[in-house]
Amino acid sequence: MSLIRTANVCKSFGELTVLKDINMSVEQGEVVCIIGPSGAGKSTFLRSLNQLEKITSGKIFIDEELFLHRENGSTVLRLEQIKYKQLLLEMGMVFQSFNLFPHKTVMENIMLAPVHVKKQSKAEAEKKAGELLAKVGLADKSDEYPARLSGGQQQRVAIARALAMEPKIMLFDEPTSALDPELVGEVLGVMKSLAESGMTMLVVTHEMGFAREVADRVIFMCDGVIAEQGPPEKLFSKPENPRTRQFLNSIL
C-alpha cells in the first residue's frame, strides 16, 4: 500500500517550471532517497507534498485517498477540512535549517504541536517528548534553549519534534547539509535507527553513503523530472541514464 503517490505533478514559479510531470510513490515502510544536482526541484517536490508549496497541476494521494487535485493553478478537488488536516499531519517534515522555535526550550518545542494541535494533555505530551528525546540521545537537554545546542543536536530535536505528531511518513529535506562535517554522523545515525524501526521515509540528501546503506530505493531528480530510479546498489553501480552517471561522477 502506498502512503504517498503523485500523478502528473507539475509546479511552476511564474515562467519557471520546476517540477515536470512527477509520478512516484512511497510504499509503507519504505525508505526512499532523492538525490540530484542543486536546483533540480527536490525541495520544491517535498514542500509540494506537505502543502508548503501549491502545485500547479496534478494529483496527490495520501493513504490511497485523493488528497488534492489541481489543474492550471486552481484546485479541482480537495478533501474536506477535517480529513485534509488529518492526512496532512501524516507527514512530518525536517528542514535543512532545523527551524526550531528559539524562544521555547527543547521540551517545549516538542510538546507545542501535540498540546495545541492534537489537544493532548501536558502530562501526556511531556511523557512522550521525554521518550522521543531519549530516542534521539538528548534526554539531558530537555530544558535547554535551542541556541545552546550544536547544529547536530538541534536537528535531532527537530526530528523528535516531528515524530511527536506521530506521522506515518517522515520527509527530510537535506537534514545534514547545514551541519559541520563532524556533526553529520549523529543525525544520520538517528535517521538510520528510525528507518530500522520501520518508519516510512522520503529523504532528500547528498549523503550517498547513507542512501546506499539505508535506502530501499533511490530516485535521481534532474531539471524537474525523475531521470532514473531503482535500488541503490543498481543506481549507484550501474546507472542507466547518462545524466545520472555524470552526476555521480561529479560528486564521488
Binding site: 508548503l52 512530518g92 528542514f95 527551524n99 524562544h103 494541535v117
Partner: protein, 317 residues
C-alpha cells in the same frame, strides 16, 4: 554551586550601600523629629499681612520629611512672607535672600509632581492602549484579506500623516462641533483618545516590521506541525517579535512622554502646562530648571526599565 557563591557574594557587595542607607535614614529621622510643629511655623506669618489681605489672603503649607515651610500671600499686592522650619528653628526667608529661589522650588514641587503624574499616566495608558490596538492593525496590514489590509493601511497612513496636535484639537474641539453627543468633557480622556489612536498607528508599523523580520522557516515549521495561522502567530511569531519590539516601542514611549506636553493646548495640567503657569504667576523662569530635570529623570527611568525588560526577554538568545 554557582548559585550559592552568588548568594554569599551579594551581602559583601551591598554592605557599603546598606550602611549609607542606614545613615541617611537615621539622619532623616532625626531631622523629622526635630522639625518644629506646623502651628508654630504657620504662626510666624505677621497678623498685619493677613489683615491687609483680608479675603484675598492665601496660605500654603508644605510638610517635607526633614523640614516644613509656609508661605502667606496677599493676592492683591503680591506681597508674601515665607518661613521655613528646620531642626527646631524657624527661619524667615526674605525675598532677596540667596536661598529664596531654593525655597521657591520647594513650593512649586508639589504642583510639578502632580503635573508629572499626569504626563506619566497619560503616556502609559496611551501607549498601552496603542500597543494593544496596534497588534490587530499590524495583523490586518499583513493579512491577505483585501478589505482588512486596505482599512488598516489607511488608518496607519492617516494617523502617521497628520500632526498629532491637529488630532488632539480635533478630538477635543472639533468633535463637539460635529455633534454635541461627541463632546468629551474630561480633558485627560480626550488627550488619551488622541494619543492612543495616534500611538496605535506608529506601533502597528513597529509590530509589522518585527513580525516580518521573523525567519520564514518559523512559519513553515509551524505549518508543517499543523498549527493554524492564529496559533502560529500567538505561540510562535508574536513571542519572538516581542524582544525585537522592545527597543522601538521604548522609543515610541519616550516620544509620547515628550509629545504629551502638547496637552497644554487643551489646558490639561501636565508637567509642561504647570511649569508655564508657575513661571507666569511667579514672573520667573526659574521653575523651568526643576521641570526639565524632572523630565530627564522620567526619561532616564523609563529607558532603564526598558533596557532591563529587553535583557529579560533575551534569555534564550
Amino acid at each position: 554551586m554557582s548559585k550559592i557563591k552568588g548568594l554569599t557574594k551579594l551581602p559583601a557587595k551591598y554592605i557599603p550601600l546598606a550602611v549609607a542607607m542606614a545613615v541617611i535614614i537615621a539622619l532623616l529621622a532625626v531631622l523629622a523629629i526635630t522639625k518644629p510643629p506646623a502651628q508654630n511655623v504657620k504662626g510666624q506669618i505677621s497678623p498685619a499681612l493677613k489683615e491687609a489681605a483680608g479675603t484675598k489672603y492665601s496660605e500654603t503649607y508644605y510638610n517635607y520629611i526633614c523640614f516644613n515651610a509656609v508661605r502667606g500671600k496677599d493676592l492683591k499686592t503680591a506681597q508674601e512672607e515665607t518661613y521655613v522650619g528646620f531642626v527646631g528653628n524657624i527661619f524667615a526667608v526674605p525675598d532677596k535672600s540667596p536661598i529664596a529661589p531654593v525655597v521657591d522650588i520647594f513650593f512649586w514641587l508639589p504642583a510639578l509632581i502632580r503635573g508629572s503624574g499626569i504626563t506619566i499616566s497619560l503616556s502609559i495608558v496611551s501607549v498601552l492602549a496603542g500597543v494593544f490596538a496596534s497588534v490587530f492593525l499590524a495583523l490586518g496590514k499583513i493579512s491577505k484579506v483585501k478589505l482588512l489590509n486596505k482599512t488598516c493601511s489607511a488608518y496607519i497612513f492617516f494617523f502617521r500623516g497628520t500632526p498629532l496636535m491637529m488630532q488632539l484639537y480635533f478630538v477635543y474641539y472639533a468633535l463637539p462641533q460635529i455633534h454635541p453627543a461627541l463632546t468629551i468633557n474630561n480633558k485627560f480622556l480626550a488627550a488619551f483618545l488622541a494619543f492612543a489612536l495616534n500611538s496605535a498607528a506608529y506601533c502597528a508599523e513597529i509590530i509589522r516590521a518585527a513580525i516580518q523580520s521573523i525567519d520564514k522557516g518559523q512559519f513553515e515549521a509551524s505549518k508543517a506541525l499543523g498549527l493554524s495561522y492564529g496559533q502560529t502567530m500567538q505561540l510562535v511569531i508574536i513571542p519572538q517579535s516581542i524582544r525585537r519590539l522592545i527597543p522601538p516601542v521604548a522609543n515610541e514611549f519616550i516620544m509620547v512622554l515628550k509629545d504629551a506636553s502638547l496637552v497644554s493646548i487643551i489646558a490639561l495640567s501636565d508637567l509642561t502646562h504647570t511649569t508655564r503657569s508657575i513661571s507666569s504667576s511667579s514672573s520667573s523662569a526659574l521653575v523651568y530648571i526643576p521641570a526639565m530635570i524632572i523630565y530627564l529623570i522620567i526619561t532616564a527611568f523609563f529607558t532603564f526599565v526598558f533596557n532591563k525588560l529587553e535583557k529579560r526577554f533575551s534569555i534564550y538568545q
